[in-house]
């Protein structure tokens, strides 16, 4: 359940930014989470509900942008969507790929008041 540490990290980042802006509550939080980020969304929801209690995010709306993963075949340069690290290149069948995106895990923006 590293999702709890992740969620606490998110809350800390949001509160730090909100406080610095002189706000007293976070109304909306927008997150970018890649499908290869290693975050289990169900565990994250659970951790979120628990961890936000008593924080500036208690009543905030959480918006998650799910970023689907893309890779590039290092053999034939094809770019393609992947679900897993072990997906093969659809053109040449090689597993020698580099991940272009899908590992994002970040707080994108906040709406505060």
């Amino acid at each position: 359940m590293h999702e709890l540490s992740i969620v606490m990290g998110i809350i800390k980042i949001a509160e730090d930014h909100a406080k610095a802006a002189g706000a007293h509550s976070v109304d909306e939080i927008e997150l970018d989470i890649g499908t290869l980020s290693g975050v289990d969304m169900e565990s994250m929801e659970f951790a979120w509900t628990q961890a936000k209690k008593g924080t500036m995010l208690n009543n905030s709306l959480k918006k998650v942008n799910s970023i689907s993963a893309k890779a590039k075949c290092l053999d034939c340069d094809t770019e393609f969507d992947i679900k897993n690290y072990y997906d093969a290149c659809p053109v040449c069948g090689e597993h020698l790929i580099s991940i272009l995106r899908g590992k994002e895990l970040k707080v994108k923006s906040l709406l505060v008041s």
Binding site: H17, L105, V112
Partner: protein, 273 residues
């Protein structure tokens, strides 16, 4: 509050330097947690009134940013002192501590070692390492399922590994969570054993993807288990094309020289930087 990182200190993670000269298990009163204490001052004075004033803040900040900064800081410390730091990860019971015990005994006198043991509750592993005559610090994470860079920062303040030593960090037995947390290590070593499924790399791809070496342990049991070692290796390579694989048995000693040579080669590389 911790001056290094500003963390709160209302206690969950504990650190024990297993000490030669003193009673076992003395705890430094160095207790940390990553929970911030949810203390909010509710008496904020409103000297001017903001009613429903909303504002958008562009944050664009990586959630693991703080961990990664501390990991880089650890890495700088290791580099400066020519310490080869290795992060050992695996599911529970695949043989991390056994591999360490053998390695520490077999390479005694040739290389200098220090060990950080991560466990949720007990000191058992640290005691096993201590019995080999190696400097060891135990980190108990409580409910925490992984070590993070911050814990390592504090552990090395206690442990003070020698210059030119090899620092083994035995992570909590868990193939999922430790994958996300850079500790500042030079290499990540994932250990699997033949009593697990040969599809482990496909089930826990993050760990195999982020490691540079995979050790397949307990090969002495191959005749008794339905583990297809070639399939396991192929699966691991599918997840991470660059992964090196070494087959060993900590019980019979088979394959251990390959692992020792890998270690020696990494120590030499570190020295020539």
């Amino acid at each position: 509050m911790c001056a290094t990182c500003g963390c709160g200190s209302d206690g969950k993670t504990t650190f024990f330097l297993i000490d030669k000269d003193q009673q076992h298990n003395h705890s430094h009163d160095h207790v940390h947690t990553h929970n911030h204490g949810y203390v909010h001052d509710h008496g904020h004075t409103h000297d001017h009134q903001h009613i429903n004033e909303k504002k958008i803040i562009d944050v664009e900040q990586d959630v693991l940013h703080q961990n990664n900064l501390l990991a880089e800081r650890n890495r700088g410390y290791f580099d400066a002192k020519h310490i080869l730091a290795l992060n050992l990860v695996s599911s529970p019971g695949s043989g991390k501590t056994s591999l360490l015990e053998r390695s520490l005994r077999d390479l005694k006198g040739e290389l200098e070692f220090a060990v950080i043991e991560g466990d949720q509750q007990t000191n058992n592993d640290a005691d096993r390492i201590f019995a080999t005559g190696t400097k060891v610090t135990q980190i108990n994470t409580g409910k925490g399922c992984h070590l993070d860079a911050h814990m390592i920062t504090h552990a090395i303040q206690d442990l003070k590994p020698a210059d030119y030593s090899v620092l083994f960090i035995e992570n909590v037995g868990n193939l999922v969570c430790p994958a996300m947390f850079d500790l500042g290590e030079k290499e990540r070593v994932v250990i699997m054993s033949v009593t697990e499924g040969d599809d482990k790399p496909l089930k826990y791809p993050d760990m195999f993807h982020s490691s540079t070496l995979c050790i397949i342990n307990k090969t002495d049991l191959l005749p008794y288990v339905p583990f297809d070692i070639e399939k396991a290796k192929a699966n691991a390579k599918k997840v991470n094309h660059y992964l090196e694989i070494i087959e060993v048995s900590c019980t019979s000693g088979d394959g251990l020289p390959l692992w020792y040579n890998w270690l020696r080669s990494k120590v030499l590389q570190a020295e020539t930087i």
